[in-house]
Symmetry: C2
Subunit: 351 residues, 2 copies
């Protein structure tokens, strides 16, 4: 007993909390071996004999030993923590989208032994990134890429692994996204199939890739069907409910208003429904409306929203998986995941 050196803690500082926290050294003393052996035993290093390993594990678990994460991070140079940057208000806090995504990310990463550090993207620019960098995270999941996103260069420069939720222009990068173009096309095709020819579009924020791509899908669907694209049928929104409300007003005031509208997300679709209703226009009788995202509220509203459903939770899982692979330096065969999207037909388009 107490055979090895390492003067026991005279604890001349660090007065916080438990005096009786179990450390590796204490386990070692109890087991009559050295600290190093304990470390190896707990890591299942084959160089430790079966007998010793079992004894040490036994003691460790009976003493309820938990390694100190900070010490592990320091020694290994990895934090086992990843950062998740979600957009700040108004979008994130109101959009159920991100919480569900977070659920997927969390469920995956936690089983892999990673922790999630949340960073609301409060400041513009790479401020939040710095915040995360301070904490030496192993990797980062970001959302809402912009058309030319400055964060990409910043992160690549720092060699921090990262994954975007949302397609980025940069071809190297890792990202997971729903097929915005394809999804939009499906929605518009559905409206075309119902006989509509005058189909409006309420766009999202055009600086976001998702906003631009959904509009692109709308346009290609129209032209593929031989319906000429008309600029006046496009009203710019901003992915919020009031934005949708404003945009629908703009479209309904045309001398020849659309008979159907594709809104680039559900929140705007809901805004459009409300806005249309205020003008005495009933959905879907007078106006068909399709959305995008598949958020919960779309099911709750009346009429229930026909929408392009994104597998949000799934996307979270995938983003987590990509990031972990990237952190561990494993080979990544598909760097981009463009998930096909389905249309969930409910009530808002009639038919």
């Amino acid at each position: 007993m107490r055979s090895n050196g390492e003067k026991s803690g005279n604890g001349y500082k660090n007065g916080n909390g438990n005096e009786h926290t179990m450390t590796m050294q204490k386990i070692a003393t109890l087991a009559g071996v050295s600290k190093g052996t304990v470390s190896r035993a707990l890591a299942d290093d084959p160089k430790v004999s079966e007998k010793t390993r079992l004894k040490i594990k036994e003691i460790a678990s009976s003493q309820n030993y938990r390694p100190n994460a900070a010490a592990v991070s320091l020694a290994r140079g990895r934090t086992n923590t990843i950062g998740l940057v979600i957009p700040s208000a108004p979008r994130a806090l109101s959009d159920p989208f991100y919480l569900e995504f977070l659920g997927g990310v969390g469920d995956f990463l936690i089983t892999k032994g990673y922790n999630i550090l949340l960073s609301p993207m409060s400041e513009q620019g790479p401020g939040h990134v710095k915040l995360l960098e301070t904490n030496r995270i192993d990797g980062l999941i970001l959302t809402e890429p912009e058309q030319a996103d400055a964060r990409i260069a910043y992160l690549r420069d720092r060699a921090i692994p990262f994954v975007f939720l949302g397609q980025t222009s940069d071809n190297e990068g890792l990202w997971v996204d729903g097929d915005n173009v394809g999804g939009a096309r499906i929605a518009v095709n559905h409206l075309l199939g119902l006989g509509h020819r005058r189909i409006g579009c309420i766009t999202g924020s055009m600086n976001l890739v998702s906003g631009a791509n959904r509009l692109a899908g709308y346009i290609t669907a129209l032209t593929a069907a031989g319906v000429p694209f008309q600029q006046e049928l496009v009203a710019e929104g901003d992915f919020t409910e009031p934005g949708g409300r404003r945009a629908v007003a703009q479209l309904l005031e045309l001398e020849n208003p659309p008979t159907a509208i594709f809104a680039c997300n559900d929140l705007m679709a809901i805004g459009a429904i409300n806005g249309a209703r205020e003008r005495g226009i009933s959905i879907p009788q007078d106006l068909a409306l399709a959305g995008f995202d598949g958020i919960r509220s779309g099911e709750l509203i009346s009429p229930k929203l026909t929408t392009v459903v994104q597998p949000i939770y799934q996307m979270g899982l995938l983003a987590g998986e990509l990031l972990v692979k990237s952190i561990l330096g494993e080979e990544i065969t598909t760097r981009h995941m463009l998930l096909p999207l389905d249309l969930k037909i409910r009530e808002s388009c009639g038919g």
Copy 2:
């Protein structure tokens, strides 16, 4: 230059990432002082001379120095990280409530230099707590306390500071909550004021404190108004939309159905609206409906939901503040924050 000892990194391990990360030692070398002086200078220790301090800070910022969080944690015995346990599916991921709460918590804690580690409460029991303990968090914010919550004893035993979002039975504990009893009473009083005498209640999960208290508020409001409480008018829900739908069906099938219903949260209220509509009952003409929480969807639905609004974001701020005080050992005058709630009158109650 290079006056002090400390063999420079021969780096025989730890091959990850940047070879050129700035450490305190490097700053010290650049400034021609010792590591310890740098540490003190950056911490604004008055024992360091003005001149040295300025020089060191200058160099540190020009070198873009960021302290290694793991090392700080290890040395100080504090992690500057707090855990946030949110309920897992189905409630959390669909309930905008928690994301908004998280926003408040995050905004407060991040300005105080804390990080947030998220833990979806995936397993039952204290499993997630252990997870957090492994990471030596400084404190914990928990949600959805149960009537006799085992986590309380567990955490107190480990001397981990914690704050609940939700009133706990335990009188020592710290918590922030909306006034569930009072809020429910206001809602029911509103219905009473509109002339209703036969008012139903769709309860939440009765094992949760919030569920029990909102029912209590309903009952006290009724009895205070001299309206006898009738068990048949109470239908048990579970805080979900389908739960509300089922519950409203149960109430509407009574031979003498209620003319108004108080649903213990908005999600159930929305379910009730949908359920009622399916049965051809229109809101608010045939049935008045009030909810609780003030979530976003309640504004989007038609008719817009009259509901007891909780200052969710605010509650997040307060929870963060309480927790930090508790961690730092500051004196806490009010250990419980029971926030008064207001009724937001919209359309679903008519009147």
